[in-house]
């Protein structure tokens, strides 16, 4: 189960993570819906590029720009949060959406917790795989912590002062 478009839905994607002994070139990518690390995509591109059931995930120290010419090849792009306090994933998402124009599913994976999900949603995530020990229904509530925001981001393209009549009624 994951949260997608503000609802809890079934999910059968597998996230491939390399173990210490795996190499991006050598690791076997399972058949079926698989989200592979960026490095695996780069190393095994020829074999993977015609698969329809392929996703890719970026680590927090990787760049959205590395996918610049490949955005159409994936059914899902995920961004990994190694720790919830690592905020690089927010800028990665922003770049994918606002700069590179990615419109497909953008999924937060890793240390994904309720209290960070509102900001994640704002920068363009539309799917969330909350940490396994957390309650999915509780996590869903995190998406509606605020009804208003001051700044522009991926969700609201305009800052508040261009969205509403400041000083006027809500």
């Amino acid at each position: 189960m994951i949260i997608k478009n503000k609802a809890i839905v079934d999910d059968d994607w597998i996230v491939l993570r390399l173990s210490a002994s795996d190499t991006p070139e050598g690791v076997a990518v399972p058949s079926g819906k698989t989200i592979v690390p960026l490095k695996v995509w780069q190393a095994q591109r020829a074999a993977l590029q015609h698969r329809a059931d392929l996703g890719v995930w970026l680590a927090s120290n990787e760049r959205a720009e590395d996918l610049q010419n490949d955005l159409g090849k994936f059914a899902v792009i995920a961004v990994d949060f190694p720790r919830f306090a690592d905020g690089r994933g927010y800028s990665i998402a922003y770049h994918l959406r606002a700069r590179l124009g990615y419109r497909g599913e953008l999924r937060a994976i890793g240390d994904v917790l309720r209290d960070q999900m509102f900001y994640m949603q704002r920068v363009g995530f539309d799917a969330f795989a909350p940490r396994a020990d957390k309650d999915m229904h509780e996590a869903l509530k995190g998406l509606s912590d605020f009804s208003l925001s001051y700044q522009a981001s991926v969700d609201d393209k305009l800052p508040l002062f261009r969205r509403v009549q400041r000083g006027g009624e809500l």
Partner: protein, 581 residues
């Protein structure tokens, strides 16, 4: 001052509701302390030695009488009757229960205040000039821009989990009173050849473990673009700032590693995507915010007041106060007045609930109902009629806020130190007190003239010791508190970092060390030369030679704690010298 519209109220109400629920989940065990910690920090709540500490934001240091009264109310209801004004122009309460924090935030929201982002690895409260709007050397009032930046940075979804904290300071005056050179981003209003307003932008300054003076990234960013430009700086930092080592995670380390030219290139490459886009500030929005800071209804008054001048000739105490605590104002017949929170025996920056209420009343009687907090930890009434100065001085005397020591030796910047803070290596409040007692003689202080003495209880430098003319840093040596002394630091237009004079001293030696530094100054100074200028002219050696020439005796009556007697982990049984215990 800025007044919330219904949108501001709604956002703050939703934030308090969010935090209330987070506290509930923490208390029920749904959230671990590790998960909760970052959320409570972003709501201003620290865990200190004795209790939670709540740091409430005072945006750019400006507050109303009603807001000051709310601080007094919080001090009485939820704390121990006092609060501590900080070098970021905020206020801290030291004895807070976790369960009370959401209630306090509710109370604050009723007077349009909050504790958002006063801690944590996010964009912190933006500091500004305590004389904004009234200074004679002002190019443009920085507060509308500070407020626009406050709104932009509040709950910015991309920048809630930066590598480390991020501090802005903004000045609109020719003379920098906000230490822009030691901030992550320092902004100074400038006018270009066409007379248009923009900002000189400094980046990568800071104190702490690696003190660095900021570098100029752009000489002129037009005001319309300041949000998008700042956003690009913070974005590059969020992406590339180090996260592997907390001591190397501030933007100053990134700027240093890349070099300012390469950093600027990356920022401006990012900025090309947003420049002239929807986040460009509109004239309409600037005008809406700026209207909140329009000048109050000043009366036409003579340039100076004859009665005040006469009283000043006859009354030395009043004259001292006029000289130190009263500053010029751009409008004839008005003055800006500092209420000193640096009376000997009081922790620097502390005010009681009674003083807060009384200061609020003084603001209403004499200064259009507004106050400011300075980063030197004093209060300002910015718009006082000169003809009211005698009455105001007498009222300030009643409140123990009349000490005529602004800018003098006992106007010490001081962090909470080992009495409260879990990070501290040494106590700083009792040391400030010991120094103040040794040099309490006002004639002596006036004779020494302008000098800044700053004390930090640890390397994090909340007491800005690097930029003190004399800086004192608490260090830990095998579990004992020692103090390193530096000289030659300065804030302002000619900012510089102090240099350590030599091996460190015990608590009880420090007053004598200060005395020796001052002896050298008095011996060597030219007429009218400030301490810092003498240090710059003659260098460190004469000071060093005198301080270390003979053994430094302990100051009488000061005890160095007997560390051997202390049980491990209970440092607060040590012989107390703090005024509050």
């Amino acid at each position: 001052m800025y007044r919330y519209d219904p949108f501001d109220h709604q956002i703050i109400a939703e934030r308090v509701a969010q935090f209330r629920d987070q506290v509930r989940r923490r208390l029920s065990g749904e959230l671990t302390e590790d998960e909760f910690r970052i959320m409570r920090l972003q709501n201003g709540l620290y865990m200190q030695i004795h209790a939670y500490m709540l740091r409430i934001a005072v945006p750019y240091g400006l507050l109303s009488a009603a807001q000051m009264r709310m601080f007094a109310s919080i001090a009485r209801k939820y704390d121990r009757g006092y609060g501590h004004f900080t070098t970021r122009q905020n206020i801290q309460f030291n004895w807070i229960n976790l369960q009370d924090a959401p209630v306090i935030l509710d109370d604050l929201a009723t007077v349009e205040m909050h504790a958002n982002q006063t801690s944590g690895n996010c964009i912190r409260n933006i500091t500004s000039d305590e004389f904004a709007g009234v200074a004679q050397d002002e190019i443009a009032d920085p507060r509308p821009y500070a407020e626009l930046l406050r709104q932009w940075s509040t709950f910015h979804p991309e920048f809630g989990y930066l590598p480390r904290k991020f501090k802005f300071a903004i000045t609109g005056a020719a003379q920098d009173r906000v230490a822009i050179a030691v901030h992550d981003i320092g902004l100074a209003v400038v006018k270009n050849a066409q007379g248009e307003i923009g900002f000189r932008v400094l980046v990568g300054g800071g104190l702490g473990r690696t003190p660095i003076i900021g570098s100029e990234i752009c000489a002129f960013v037009p005001w319309q673009h300041i949000i998008t430009y700042a956003e690009s700086i913070v974005r590059v930092y969020n992406e590339y700032g180090r996260r592997d080592n907390i001591y190397k995670a501030r933007i100053k380390i990134l700027v240093k590693a890349l070099g300012i030219e390469e950093f600027k290139r990356q920022v401006e490459a990012d900025w090309q995507f947003t420049k002239d886009g929807p986040c460009t500030i509109t004239v309409e929005e600037l005008n809406r915010v700026a209207a909140c800071f329009s000048a109050p209804a000043y009366q036409p008054l003579p340039k100076s007041d004859a009665e005040v001048a006469a009283y000043r000739r006859d009354n030395k105490a009043f004259s001292n106060w006029m000289q130190r605590n009263v500053k010029p104002h751009k409008v004839p017949g008005y003055a800006a007045v500092l209420l000193s929170l640096k009376k000997t025996g009081i922790a620097p920056g502390d005010a009681t609930a009674e003083q807060m209420d009384a200061a609020a009343e003084l603001a209403e009687r004499f200064s259009f109902g507004e106050l400011r907090i300075t980063h030197m930890q004093n209060l300002v009434l910015a718009d006082v009629k000169q003809s009211d100065l005698i009455t105001l001085w007498q009222a300030a005397k009643e409140l123990d806020m009349d000490t005529p020591n602004i800018g003098l030796l006992t106007d010490i910047i001081c962090c909470p130190g080992g009495d409260f803070c879990t990070l501290a290596n040494a106590r700083s409040i009792p040391l400030a007190r010991a120094i103040n007692e040794r040099f309490d003689d006002l004639d002596f202080q006036h004779e020494i003239g302008e000098i800044e003495l700053n004390i930090s209880g640890c390397i994090n430098a909340c007491g800005h010791h690097h930029v003190g003319h004399i800086g004192i840093l608490g260090v830990d040596k095998d579990g004992e508190e020692w103090y390193q002394v530096s000289i030659g630091g300065a804030q302002g237009n000619a900012a510089s970092l102090g240099k350590v004079i030599g091996r460190s001293f015990t608590f009880a030696q420090i007053p004598e060390v200060i005395a020796r530094l001052l002896q050298v100054y008095v011996r060597e100074r030219f007429e009218g030369e400030r301490f810092i200028d003498t240090v710059r002219r003659i260098g460190h050696d004469p000071f060093k030679d005198t301080v270390y020439a003979t053994p430094v005796a302990d100051d009488e009556g000061l005890q160095t704690p007997d560390y051997a007697l202390l049980e491990k982990g209970v440092p607060y049984d040590m012989p107390y010298y703090s005024p509050r215990f």
